[in-house]
């Protein structure tokens, strides 16, 4: 199981698997272990999955966080897929899940997760990062820590610099 980077750059062993979307016609068969399944299938099979601590969801970058509605905190892990590191939709999804929908539990970045994007993910509410396996996980802490502050309010701070300056 690949390791997961946390917000402070520390590394944690992980036992979640990402279950990809089944081919058309096939049904979803989560393995017998902690699994992240496509969010729309979780919603469609809500009766089956509700309350199960070993099931989380993942969003693809075109999917809308709003679809989870007030069920959001029933999940202990939500992942957002970055199909390509240049696809920035996941940042908006992260902020919406946290700031608009009040999601409290683990928010994980999966997919094409590279070192130089971690800083943005962190500011947009992601607190766990499944770094692409060919990247040097030992460098994550450094890349998360280049900046000691930012100009804007985001998920990590509700005080933009212009308000801090006034203080």
């Amino acid at each position: 199981m690949p390791d997961i980077v946390l917000q402070d750059g520390s590394i944690k062993q992980d036992d979640w698997v990402v279950v990809s979307r089944p081919e058309d016609g096939d049904s979803l068969n989560p393995p017998n272990q902690k699994a992240l399944i496509p969010v729309d299938l979780w919603l469609a099979g809500y009766e089956r999955y509700a309350g199960r601590e070993d099931i989380g969801v993942w969003f693809d970058s075109h999917q809308e966080p709003e679809t989870l509605g007030d069920k959001v905190n029933e999940l202990t892990v939500i992942a957002v897929n970055f199909p390509k590191f240049t696809d920035g939709r996941g940042y908006s999804i992260g902020r919406l899940l946290r700031e608009r929908m009040g999601y409290q539990n683990e928010l994980r970045a999966i997919g094409d997760v590279l070192l130089d994007q971690l800083q943005f993910m962190k500011r947009c509410g992601f607190d766990a990062y499944a770094l692409r396996p060919d990247k040097d996980i030992q460098k994550a802490a450094r890349c998360l820590g280049f900046f000691s502050q930012g100009y804007q309010a985001a998920t990590d701070t509700d005080t933009p610099l212009f308000r801090r300056r006034a203080g």
Binding site: F85, F120, F147
Partner: protein, 550 residues
């Protein structure tokens, strides 16, 4: 002018360290070329036909003399001793070494400069009117808002990987638009509502490139304090719904068109309703604090030097012409706005040598409180010159090559680097500009023709803004040969419009003749008062077509 505080300095220093680390990893092979690409682009670093090109940000076109001197030094130490002023008020170096870029950035940071977000699919440098703060008819100084936007957009974590690049421009003048806001992704026109409150008319979805579009208004009045929350809503809608499947359909203009301006505005309003009162909402105090940096310099109380200037004009015809064309009215009596033209025939428009940059810095110190502005027409402005020193200044600049009295005339060309420097070019552009400048070298004739915007791009990326030139020239490739297509009737001002294509394209040698023919049609058909654009709008394209293709 804005001065960094300890926060800005810290962020700038941290950025240099970060880019150094990224460059090291790229050189060590830990970052694939496609992974390094957006990182270096967000730092203004292109890799070009001949060498990398580094685009340095000049926020809203303003620089202090020490910054210009630093650019001169950098261009000498790390480059071939010249730099290029761009149409987005930035500065480009054409030949730096990749390995040197972190050192260049460190040198820039020492004088509060950077190359952040000057390229890449992110929010770019905000531009504005080069006469901001010194012109008579402006509603309020736009620069504090540009600085507020600069800070908000710098390393914005949500908007670092947009579908495509994103450009914002602000205009504050009621009568003119020197910032071309209607061909930007967001164009902000500063206005007052009926109750006299300050705010913005918001245009979204303009742009040039392959699909030129004039930006529709999506909000008639946005109160001042709501600037950032509303922009955040626009950007979020774009980030979520802008097309990512096709690079040529990824600009926000395509989304606005697909949803219709009304549909797009609705989506933005719905998003905005959630974040309108979030901590990102500006405070009066925050705005006033930034405004405090854009106070007036220590003007002396002077009378207008009308008699002196009249005498000097009478005695010297060349000075008279220069005063008429290259000097503008200042809001303060006794002062004037001076445009230095960087358009000598035979040199690429906007190119300056290290020595010239130092001369410009010296002139700014001597005549204009040490401040310089870069214009979107690739010229340089000294904004605060005493009228009684204009003659002296003029005598100084003519030998330097900054005194060509052709501002806004046909030979004050906007031109991209084209095939001489750019890997994407279909055709060269600089030699076309040069040939036209040589053909029209009689100043009196140019003055008689009045204001004409001639804009040249070497390919449809439109770096030379050809669509909004009154006369636009576009380089095209015909079976491996360089040809040029002409469009007429574009404008980037308040009456913004996209030019119409005249017809089949021409070989380079034919261009001066073709332009002459077009000008002759105008001269024959114009009424006393009409500019080229007026005549074109009245008579349409056919008379031009008939004569050119006769």
């Amino acid at each position: 002018m804005y001065v960094y505080d300890e926060h800005d300095r810290q962020i700038a220093a941290e950025r240099v360290a970060q880019f150094r680390d990224q460059t090291d990893r790229a050189l060590a092979g830990e970052l694939a070329e496609e992974e390094f690409l957006p990182l270096r682009l967000q730092n203004g670093l292109y890799v070009q036909r001949l060498a990398p090109m580094l685009r340095i940000a000049v926020p809203y076109g303003m620089m202090r003399s020490n910054q210009v001197r630093r650019l001169a030094r950098i261009s000498r130490d790390y480059d071939k001793g010249y730099a290029h002023f761009t149409t987005r008020q930035n500065v480009q170096l054409n030949w730096p070494n990749l390995e040197d870029v972190p050192d260049i950035l460190a040198e820039l940071a020492e004088v509060e400069m950077h190359a952040n977000q000057t390229s890449g699919n992110c929010i770019r440098n905000t531009t504005t009117d080069q006469f901001a703060g010194v012109q008579e008819d402006e509603i309020t100084d736009p620069r504090p808002y540009c600085e507020i936007i600069r800070q908000w957009s710098t390393f914005h974590p949500e908007f670092a990987f947009l579908p495509r690049k994103f450009k914002v421009a602000v205009n504050a003048s009621e009568k003119t638009d020197r910032a071309a806001i209607q061909v930007h992704d967001i164009g902000l026109q500063i206005v007052r509502n009926e109750s006299g409150e300050l705010g913005f008319r918001v245009h979204v979805g303009g742009g040039l490139g392959r699909t030129p579009m004039v930006a529709p208004v999506i909000r008639e009045f946005l109160p001042e304090l709501d600037l950032l929350t509303y922009m955040e809503a626009v950007l979020r809608v774009y980030n979520r719904y802008g097309r990512r499947d096709n690079k040529f359909k990824a600009r926000i203009k395509i989304l606005v068109k697909a949803l219709t301006p009304e549909g797009f505005a609705e989506k933005v309003e719905a998003e905005w309703a959630h974040i309108k009162d979030s901590p990102t909402k500006l405070t009066r105090e925050a705005i006033d604090r930034i405004k405090g940096y854009f106070t007036e310099p220590d003007y002396e109380s002077l009378e207008n030097a009308s008699d002196l200037l009249a005498r000097q004009r009478f005695e010297n015809r060349a000075f008279d012409q220069w005063l008429t064309h290259n000097v503008d009215t200042h809001k303060k009596t006794g002062y004037a706005i001076v445009n230095l033209t960087i358009k000598e025939t035979g040199t690429p428009p906007g190119d300056v040598t290290d020595r010239q940059m130092e001369q410009i810095a010296d002139l700014a110190d001597e005549y204009s409180f040490g401040e310089i502005r870069v214009t979107h027409q690739q010229n340089v402005v000294l904004a605060d010159v005493r009228q009684d020193r204009l003659f002296e200044l003029w005598q100084a600049i003519v030998p330097m090559g900054f005194g060509t009295a052709n501002l806004n005339t046909l030979t004050d060309v906007i031109c991209c680097p084209g095939g001489d420097y750019c890997a994407l070019a279909n055709a060269k552009s600089i030699p076309v500009a040069e040939a036209i400048q040589r053909r029209f070298d009689d100043l009196d004739y140019l003055y008689d023709l009045g204001n004409i915007d001639l804009n040249i791009s070497g390919c449809m990326n439109a770096c030379g803004h050809h669509h909004v030139g009154n006369i636009g020239v576009l380089g095209v490739d015909k079976k491996g040969e360089e040809f040029y297509q002409i469009s007429l009737g574009g404008s980037s001002h308040h009456d913004a419009s996209i030019g119409k294509i005249l017809g089949p394209s021409f070989a380079r040698e034919a261009m001066p003749d073709v332009i002459s023919t077009i000008i002759n049609v105008y001269v024959d058909k114009r009424t006393e008062e009409e500019t080229f654009l007026d005549t074109y709008r009245r008579i349409g394209i056919d008379p031009f077509k008939e004569r050119v293709y006769a």
